[in-house]
Symmetry: D2
């Protein structure tokens, strides 16, 4: 029978049991559940609610259960509903009476949310490490390709020349904010619900500060109803993951583009490519397509959680059991997306020659030319117009700006002088950039230095 | 090595292999994959692309593989990527050369989408049966509670008295439209992509009409690029499921309310209730809370698919591999939600006495009284105002409309006469309803008759 | 005072009035609201619930109100809450007593959903016309570019050569299924809720079949509670729109790619391009970027509706007022996306020469070569491997398959003969396709003929 | 003509102009756009890029434009696309040449994201104030109802008695975390993109630190590509809003329940209620239904943004224009939801007598009884079982636990003694709670004191 079966005469139907069990997925919480139980038992003993001997049997029983689980000897039983009841019932099978005291001044309502906060805290730490790993991979990739100029795009149209390092560091910046979000989320969730019991607290003399401290929480949550009701920490975590996923989907898109025949910027190695079952010549950048694709499930999980919690009254409702699978999937997916992106970064080569050959196309130096005129005292709007007409001339002549003669340039505007050619061409253009955060070589070197140092890359 | 490995010199890294494999989840398509291969091999033989003897070995090899899978003897290998390659490679291990001809004029791009359409077709049939099952459970529940009047609500405020049958049939109607959506979806997806190959079709003389026919499709899809690119049929299916989920979430909400102490309309049996680990008196309607909660994941899966497909260029992109898990989860979840809702319907009792005792509260007969005045020739707006003032009088006297004396009523408006009492009180009020589709007994009986007959309930 | 103010002593606060009014957006329903009121008044008169003279004043009053609204003379008042109350109150101001009878046997609950179904029906018709318009634009674009071969892609890697017509028609196919979805949705929603009143129907002798017929509905809805409770028709409509949006987002992505310097397939005319405020040379395909971007709000609106309806009990809840803005926005956005896509299609030129020059890259003929070997009796898997090795040779020699000598080919496999060169090169490759729905010229001509005829393009 | 028209020969079509304009909604950014331009012009002058006299005309021109906008005299022109071009063009119309220099070393790409960050910063401050306002309203409501015991629920089943103050403070806690999220979000977004220009920075000698400082930003963003590409700050903001919306949707649900006839906990005043157009007796808690409903659009806006950004390559893409309407709507909706919730809180009365009368139902003291046995040394699981059987006895006798005689209790377990009656009954039960954060009176008083002091309520 169920451990809560006192007032029940009939057991639940098979269909309902299958539908409502959670042990098939919440068993991954076993480590955190046992950790919480250890802290709880220790506190109960200190407060005199159980004896020291009870505590000792409970602790050694829990050790044995943890060992069995990790050695694959533990039998998870669906009829025992969830991770909590499986462990408590196994403990009872093992040590008898003392086990029946473990759930004193505790409910599954505060227990699950304690487990979940502990689990999330660890999960965030793992993701943080993976973000760092990807940042390092991106910075190393940048180091390997110092000086490489590629076209910068807006609207997927060639815009201005940029250093590849500059582009790669833009992703490093975005990931850094992702780290900030996760750290804030972790700090905010790091409070202990244990002792909130069902929803109202308890009349037994427990010490919530002790368990909070034991479990590494900052403090116990102040309000027991809030403690068992709210899943905002899960939603916040999944939001942070969704933003990471959004960033990675953009990286995925960009690298898929770069690997195309048309862009041809990168060649992924065979070890991160796959082939076609029908087309013998194909070599596809599948990992980055999947990174882009998998971003959708991370976002979908966030949506699931928001819909789940919408409109529920306080306090615990069984609906909340559904918070776990999206959470677990989001964390695992993000982890893999980060790792595989790093692995991909480690296995691509930039086709310097091909990129350089293609650089003249797209009039990437047009804005530099406009700046030239600004320096000569032309109002920017006027210089924009002059250069616009110069580009139109190039198009009609099917040439580049640097191919226009001074006579031709002067026919558009007499302010052009011989020194204009120091501003034309992609290399000249890049050289001219000087503003903070810009793609100018010195500025990018500053950025590189900052990241190499911050990430302790040697 | 991979079956597509001709031009590759290195194999993929472990992380990439784990990240990109799909066999761990797409193996559930094995039956449909084999079915497709049977049809394809048969066609290839008819068209002279393989010999009859090749075909025979392929077919008997496929039979054996299917048997092994169903008997749990088949070893799924992650390094063989997906269900297609696992089966083809096993076939090759088993029968040798002829197996190498099976993939003639076929790509995984058309193969997977053929499998998926076949699978969805079957899944829809299963869901249709489950909807019917729930409709029957609701109608039977209505039959068991003929004549029971409950308060009808708008804004969760008591509005007008309604027959319970009328409420239950409103869900039956909604489910009927869900059936319509699924049938439309099935018809629209029931076209064959097989033979579209990678994206462009083939130069080999295949017969797509033959395989289409063999697999029970209406016809081959007209455009091979469209055939491998689009997943609109999955999105449509998940949309239909999301609407079912929305309907069931409302049923869940309603029944959770009805099971509360405050409403007290229903008592679920122990067999569909669960208890609390801490509070000994608790008996919770968990299945319906979970039905409500699980609606969120069904909707989340739809969102995942939409995000997945957004912004992909034609034709196949690896992102599309991510369409399967949300699809499979949506189907399984909806199935269980439907079944458990039916099981719950079969295991609740309506508390007739408690409901009847509580009926006088809320002035449910106010609108009937307004109609009374309309029949006396009072414009509706005026009668609405008169009854509004009568209700205000009741509130000040803390009584019901039927408790007001004729003198009191006439003090508000002289048109009230003795026959007004035939319109007051919940039973009288229900009796007066007569419009088509209304809660009047005769009208509800018509509805009941319609559904009993349509659902062939005896 | 409000028209429902009988029992109320205080009016709502300004903040609540502003928060809960809907007239600022639901006034767009005025035409359908008036149409519904005309049908309702006519029915009331026929049933003897109002006099013929009442009906006449109501109808002419409604005519005058409609005229005033269309001429911009009507003053919408927020304190009158919604479109219904604004019109009814204005009618009362205008014609007095008879107006007070209009709301006989009607509630805003059935009225709004009647308006909404009528509005959606019209909206669907408009969208259908816009889809046809885009289909025609795509087919005409295909007609203008007969014979143009472009690379077909999978994984954004060059895969096989395809006729541009074939690609464009794949979108026409997808749009055709979108039409099917909208038609199904329209049929399913085309039932009349009018007469369901608040939720329970009425005791007054109305004729719901008459109003249903008058308003062009198929029949009245069978169950009055269902009639006022459910918004599944809105969700289904927004789902259909989301799938259209998904399709258009892919078209947008593809055309943005095609307009890039790197692909260079198309040049949009100035009339559908925009420039940069800083970079004088830029010419961006903004309309298609916005089509891609706006797909997100169409999908977002669907999500809003699903969340909105999730977990609401029957019958009407005020939450449902929030169904309108997402619906209106979805319809308007889809309309514009379709129109602008068509306009873009009418204003792009394909760069035939540039495309042709780039065609040799990517070994697009590799699969055709594999088919060649299949025709020689080589099992497909073996031929795939042989061609894979041939491609590897090309890569090492930096040449195309057609550049390999027969000796070189034979060194890989002796089955190659002189006729192999009839299979190599993009033009040869396209010529070989013959399967139904393939990119073979004859097959594509069949498709073109089908669509030109179906869309009656002359 | 457009200000970027240099290379263009044709102007855009009307449909494209309507489709791509943003001024109809981005004009709300005018204040922040002007503020940004003031800082930019001042910096340009300091750096010698424009003259002091240019700067003076620009600044006074901007003052005049701001005045005109605020006085409603400014004509917004759709053909001038957006807020930036409208203001710059108007400035040019007004002051001529100097205006043409304002866009020196600036692009709309950095300009819009500067405006948007400034706007979000202000929006967050407004929302923070509104959250505080609601917190105060909740605490005041709690102060007014000191000592009121209501049933606490889990699974919407009566669970344990709780103080109303405890429930209300649980929402205050949740809102406090919402404040934390918004503050983190604001800190993270408070960096200046100005000077990133199109994407690559500029070759002109600008001072990004000066403008950053002038605009109250912490520092300039480090990487110009990142600066113009990413909208993570918008997504984070909308996530924070979605969590607030989730919290408020739960408050809405709870209060709608409480206002029902069945719960009957609260009576909203007429000033926050609305009536029915057909049912004269109805008084509906519409504002809280709408709060619950409007949560869906806040969540929908978040989804829109995620879909929008998914899969875009760096840097600016026109899709990003679509970030504004969801952002603006989210902010306005959340603001109103918070204000109206506070207004509702100020206008409800708790029905003390009715609540107290209903309290005995539901065996709310069962857990307290189990704790009683624990104190007697019974293991909790055993005591849970004993109380479960006691409740079963009550149900069979249709009585409460306190109605059981000591003999009856002892028949279940002999450990029960006379002092058991100090633990039974709702008042006794509440008195026993003592754990930190529990519903015990002293503990709740601590919480009240904390919040009254923190929120400076006098």
């Amino acid at each position: 029978g169920k451990l809560w079966g006192g007032r029940f005469e009939e057991s639940v139907t098979d269909a309902v049991e299958r539908f409502s069990e959670s042990v098939s997925f919440d068993k991954v919480l076993y480590k955190h559940d046992i950790r919480g139980s250890r802290a709880h038992a220790t506190m109960l003993a200190q407060q005199g609610l159980i004896t020291t001997s009870d505590k000792e049997s409970i602790l050694s029983g829990l050790d044995e259960i943890e060992r069995r689980i990790e050695d694959g000897e533990f039998v998870w039983r669906m009829d025992r509903e969830d991770v909590h009841m499986n462990i408590e019932a196994a403990l009872t099978d093992m040590i008898g009476e003392p086990a029946k005291k473990l759930h004193t001044a505790r409910s599954r309502n505060d227990q699950i949310v304690t487990d979940l906060r502990l689990w999330c805290r660890d999960a965030i730490d793992m993701i943080l490490a993976s973000i760092r790993y990807l940042q390092v991979a991106l910075v190393r990739l940048a180091m390997k390709n110092e000086g490489l100029i590629i076209p910068g795009y807006t609207h997927l149209q060639r815009a201005q020349p940029v250093l590849l390092q500059h582009v790669l560091l833009s992703y490093v910046e975005q990931l850094e904010r992702d780290i900030g979000r996760l750290l804030n989320c972790k700090d905010r969730m790091n409070f202990s619900p244990l002792g909130a019991c069902a929803l109202a607290g308890t009349g037994l003399p427990i010490d919530r500060f002790m368990t909070s401290n034991e479990l590494g929480f900052i403090a116990p949550l102040r309000n027991s109803i809030d403690a068992v009701s709210d899943r905002d920490f899960v939603v916040e975590f999944l939001s942070a993951n969704s933003i990471i996923a959004m960033h990675l989907s953009r990286l995925g898109e960009e690298w898929v583009l770069w690997a195309s025949e048309e862009f041809g910027f990168i060649t992924p190695s065979d070890s991160v490519s796959t082939g076609s079952s029908i087309m013998p010549q194909k070599k596809n950048p599948d990992p980055m397509e999947l990174v882009r694709g998998k971003s959708s499930r991370v976002m979908g999980s966030l949506v699931t959680l928001l819909i789940l919690c919408k409109g529920l009254p306080q306090a615990y409702n069984r609906d909340l059991q559904e918070d776990k699978e999206p959470l677990f999937d989001s964390v695992e997916t993000i982890q893999c997306m980060l790792e595989v992106s790093a692995e991909f970064a480690q296995n691509i080569n930039f086709n310097h020659a091909k990129i350089q050959n293609a650089l003249p196309a797209g009039h990437l130096d047009a804005t530099t030319l406009a700046d030239y005129l600004v320096k000569k005292g032309v109002p920017f709007r006027t210089s924009h117009d002059i250069v616009g007409r110069s580009v139109a001339l190039c198009i009609s002549k099917n040439c580049q700006l640097m191919d226009l003669s001074l006579v031709e340039l002067r026919s558009i505007n007499p302010l052009f002088e011989e020194d204009v050619y120091e501003y034309l061409g992609v290399e000249n253009s890049v050289k001219k950039f000087c503003s903070y955060g810009s793609t100018g070589s010195g500025r990018v070197a500053e950025q590189m230095h900052f990241w190499v140092s911050k990430l302790q890359i040697s």
